[in-house]
């Protein structure tokens, strides 16, 4: 049973990067929106780059999620 509890705690800790990834995603979208409101005509051209940055940042959080699931599934 202690093993079970340790697994749960470990999974919880492994899911912590999600918080940092959330902060990072917020930063990306806020910067994009700031730029887009200042210069709306250039916004469309940068949307692809924004989604790319979104994906790259999200990856960090997802790694944490996958780790958590793997720990839970062991």
């Amino acid at each position: 049973m202690e093993m079970e509890a340790a697994k749960m705690i470990g999974a919880g800790i492994a899911a912590l990067p999600l918080a940092a990834a959330g902060i990072g995603l917020g930063l990306i979208f806020s910067s994009f929106l700031t730029g887009a409101f200042r210069n709306p005509s250039a916004a469309a051209a940068n949307r692809g780059t924004m989604f790319l940055a979104f994906a790259l940042t999200e990856f960090t959080g997802l790694l944490g999620f996958v780790l958590a699931m793997i720990i839970l599934g062991q």
């Binding site: 692809g48 989604f51 790319l52 994906a55 999200e58 990856f59 996958v66 699931m69």
Partner: protein, 279 residues
Amino acid sequence: MADLLNVIITNLLGLAKQNPIGLKAADPMEQFEIVRIFPVGNTPFDFSNASLSMVMVVVVSCIFMFLATRKVSMVPGRMQAVGETLHGFVSDMLREMAGNDGLRFFPYIFTLFLFIFVANLLGLLPTLPSIPKMFHVFTPTSHLAVTLSLAMITISIVLIYGLYKNGFKFFKLFLPGGVPLWLAPLIVPIEIVSFLSRPLSLAIRLFANMFAGHLILKLFAGFVVSLIAAGGLMSGLAILPILGNVAIYLLEILVAFLQAYIFSVLSCMYLGDALHPDH
């Protein structure tokens, strides 16, 4: 207040475990299980529900493309316009990321994008209750084996084509131009590690997105069943996870497109590296 909450929770958990009205939510992990449909000879290559869903992806994609190209005309019809929009979307992406000579990979990137997008979308369809488990809706892209294979195909093309076209110049990829030579011992290992991590990051991104999204959908659906089974006041609260599920479902449609797009964009980028390693 705290007492009331305590009573509610204990009631809820008790009821959820015993389930007096026979409602039962599917295990959220059940949708990812692979069930053999028939074996292929003595090989380990069983035809499973994963294989069936991949065949379905090909069939649906081909039906779509058939409708789009059934009667091609100078003034496009509705389906042809959709097909041409997709064609333009992928070719613009490829041209932007890999340059004009990257267009030789157009059929590959187009197939890749369409395959992932259709696989993600088909995985979002609901499963009809009480049909055999092997015919449950299955998302092939929620399995690491599939996404890693797709990523490895891209990286293999990058490696083989890059070496074939540029010879040893291909290794300039690991030492970007303009870097002072004394930094090379530091930069080269970093670049090699980043190159090797590319297929892994491609694969894990797609797999984890699909896995997490579908898991959350099924978890919320499980909440609905548990709340309804709890009866009374709790049944009314079941509307909350339903609304949540609707929102997540819409988000998942966006993610289905976005992940296909990002997988293709990054593939284009890596293929661009193979074409111009010394950019």
